[in-house]
């Protein structure tokens, strides 16, 4: 079943994508403006459900790569991501039937929509991270056997580079990162070209709709003066991100950041209002682990989101500061992101944490209650693999 995504959906999508960015992923604001302008000129974008894809269709995902801060200054010319896709099509000698996000958290939720609008391509409602991650090999595509190579990378001057590292996705990340720096710190990529069958086998399904419904839940609840956290619980309960827990409620009392090897690493400490207990969150661009009194409450790849306590506005690691009143929520990720193979690519140890993955729903604490009717209409989820 396909559907249309128009400019009126973008504020909710941007909000939901920021939440799924779990503190990182880049501010989707510039991305939202880009898509809005493109849609004004070219009209809405057709979104395809992954289950409806014919097995032999060619799907080429597109994304932005590099430093989100640079995009605040050097806004794209516009055609770069489509140029990357075209370059990869030319290399393969075949046109793509659709594009797709590699990352549904942050600005990369928007880039495929820009490609869709300007190139007249539909966009597949799925991605390879199910959230935001810092590196290109951290993809379910990669975990389940789709190589990222060949990768096409494009800049605003019309330059393109093709990188082919065979099966080695880590080497692909390393080389593409170097080229991105030479291209000015930000570039646009097309990679992980795959068939419709491979999308069904390896992608995290319906994550654009997930971002949209999460964003809408918050915006609608605010408008109607309802509790946005209950609305979030309802929204997640209708997806394969089935568990949502409040990990902590308190005030940020310390934020510590440093840059090592190009990543913003650090930690935030949050103290509860009654002074009883403290939560520590470590991050590397995205939030990695939440620990209360030496007990691990949630760990990557599960989502750890820091939200403003009343409005549920997601707060990125860059913006987080002393005095913020927050609720920290943990959200379970779908089964295909928690297998041993997946954890070997984006589990805790891939971020230098000497910790085991424990599903957030197996930790202490209870679920956030949604409203009753939402659970009654809970979806029957199609098994993913």
């Amino acid at each position: 079943m396909s559907w249309q995504l128009g400019p009126e959906d973008l504020p909710a999508l941007a909000l939901g994508a920021t939440l799924l960015g779990t503190g990182g992923g880049g501010d989707p604001h510039i991305g939202r403006l880009l898509v809005e302008q493109a849609m004004r000129e070219h009209g809405p974008v057709t979104i395809l459900d992954p289950d409806d894809l014919d097995d032999d269709l060619l799907i080429i995902p597109t994304a932005q790569m590099g430093a989100p801060t640079v995009v605040l200054e050097r806004i794209p010319a516009g055609p770069e991501p489509l140029a990357a896709l075209r370059r990869l099509e030319d290399h393969r000698g075949r046109r793509a039937a659709a594009t797709m996000p590699i990352e549904c958290g942050g600005i990369n939720s928007m880039i495929p929509l820009l490609v869709g609008a300007t190139g007249g391509l539909p966009v597949v409602d799925a991605d390879g991270m199910g959230r935001a991650f810092p590196e290109l090999q951290m993809e379910t595509f990669s975990v389940y056997g789709v190589p990222g190579s060949p990768l096409a990378i494009a800049d605003e001057l019309g330059h393109t580079v093709l990188i082919d590292t065979g099966e080695d996705n880590r080497q692909l990340e390393w080389l593409a990162r170097g080229v991105t720096i030479r291209l000015g710190g930000v570039a646009y990529i097309a990679e992980y070209a795959m068939t419709g069958r491979q999308v069904k086998d390896t992608a995290v399904p319906r994550t654009l709709s997930l971002a949209l419904s999460v964003g809408r839940a918050i915006l609608d609840a605010r408008r109607d003066h309802r509790d946005p956290f209950a609305a979030l619980a309802d929204a997640f309960s209708r997806t394969i991100y089935t568990h949502i827990r409040e990990l902590f409620h308190g005030k940020v009392v310390d934020v510590e950041r440093r840059t090592t090897e190009g990543f913003a690493r650090g930690r935030a400490r949050i103290r509860s209002a009654d002074g009883d207990g403290e939560l520590e969150i470590s991050f590397q661009n995205e939030n990695l682990v939440a620990i209360r009194d030496e007990i691990q409450l949630a760990v990557v790849p599960d989502l750890i989101c820091i939200l403003e306590e009343e409005t549920a506005e997601p707060i990125t690691t860059e913006r987080l500061r002393y005095g913020d009143r927050v609720r920290v929520i943990g959200v379970s990720t779908p089964a295909l992101m928690r297998t041993p193979e997946a954890l070997a690519v984006f589990g805790p140890r891939c971020f230098g944490l000497d910790r085991e993955f424990v599903p957030v729903e197996d930790g202490p604490g209870g679920e956030i209650a949604g409203t009753a009717d939402a659970r009654m209409e809970e979806w029957e989820q199609t098994p993913v693999r």
Binding site: Q37, A67, E73, R74, I75, P76, L157, K251, T259, R321
Partner: protein
Amino acid sequence: MRIGIDVGGTNTDAVLMDANTVAAAVKRSTSADVTTGIVEALAALQEQRAFSVDDIDAVMIGTTHFINALVEARRLAPTAAVRLGLPATASLPPFVDWPEPLVAAMQGRAYLAHGGHEFDGREISPLDPDELKRHAADIAASGSRSVAISSVFSPINSELELQAQEILQAELGPDVAFSLSHEIGRIGLLERENATIINAALRELATSIVDGLASSVAASGLTAPLFLSQNDGTLMDMEYARRYPVATFASGPTNSMRGAAVLSGLDTCAVVDVGGTTTDVGVLNQGFPREATGEVLVAGVRTNFRMPDVLSIGIGGGSLVRENGALVGPDSVGYRLNTEALVFGGSTLTATDVAVAAGWAEIGDTGRVGHLSQEAADRALDVIATRVADVVERMRTSAAPLPVVAVGGGSVLLPEELPGLGRLHRPENFAVANAIGAAIAQVSGEIDKVYAISEGSRATVIDEARQEAVDRAIAAGAHPGSVEIVDFDEVPIPYLPGNATRIRAKAVGDLALTAVAR
């Protein structure tokens, strides 16, 4: 002695300050021509406390004129925005995402040209003089009288904006005013460009307002140098004000907070301003308001002005009190307090009535609230104190104790002590806090750049950045010996090599009055 003047939409306040002491304070109505109101206020000041014009070292003015002109979209100059960055940035041209009526009010025209820099200092593309000359011809033909120039990464390298100005000025002649983005905003192209365009549109109004202010002060026989308040609470001279009217935008709340600080003798504190409908809370750090970190919408346009970080809640003297005192606000009788509150003979129970019933204030006819139960009054006042204390608590940036200063007509609603925050400071004369805040005598300089910090060079880079901020403060008129760094911020940028780090530094010093006297 110094004179501080606050020209608001309704009132023109003036104070005569002897160091940090208020020697005289007056309030007059703002006149349609601005000048008359100022002349009247100055005459009233002279009447209250006679002074010789030779005693006055400087006159400082805070005004909301420019931001009001933008919000009301009036008296804006026809403006062209030229951006250097092609082929990058073409997807979002200048004026993108602006409210259409505002673009129309300034007959906004957008031009894209080659130029701009990469984060590492390389040029995106060279400047193309012929392209700029073609744009100049179109700008001239369309009747734009003010030009805003922005260039990608100009806060790191301003050269191309300056070159483009030279080329365009040669084509357009000396009567067209130029506003350059590197002088106005920080990193974030769209937000900086927006602020620059707004500045450009206000240039003609700035000339007439500045001339008007100067002539009204001169008409009062004063010869002391004249300054305008900037967003951050420091001063700019009249020549600067003509060129950067946008730098006055947030001076209202800033002056109010700084005035409160001067009156209370505290330079690091939270300021709680309780009005009729809302309570606004800001924080002063070493005498300067803490700035909001995110983007600020001004008249529907996203900018990154340095605005004070102010948190507001719907509690004020006119707030409705319901449910036997358990619910206060957020709705308020507002300016109708003088007729609708019980103590003024009205029929609405307001927060002011509750304060009167509890014996905290004597306002209006106290007999009209005699029927209220002590319990309900206590409950309502407790709700107010708890909620205000909560906002102050949120605004704190560290666990260190922070004194709290209460100002505004509604501050009678607050108890002697706020829960968990200690005793409240309640200065006199807070009705003219804005004018007092204007009458300070400090100037600032700041930088916001991205540096590549190689192994072991961090200390050198930081020294360099701090020195540059200090140099800028001295260039703006600060007495060299008095300049200090008041704000320093170092944020690493992820995904860039060489530990790229964005550094912001702000230096402030006392105005060197002899150096600028004329």
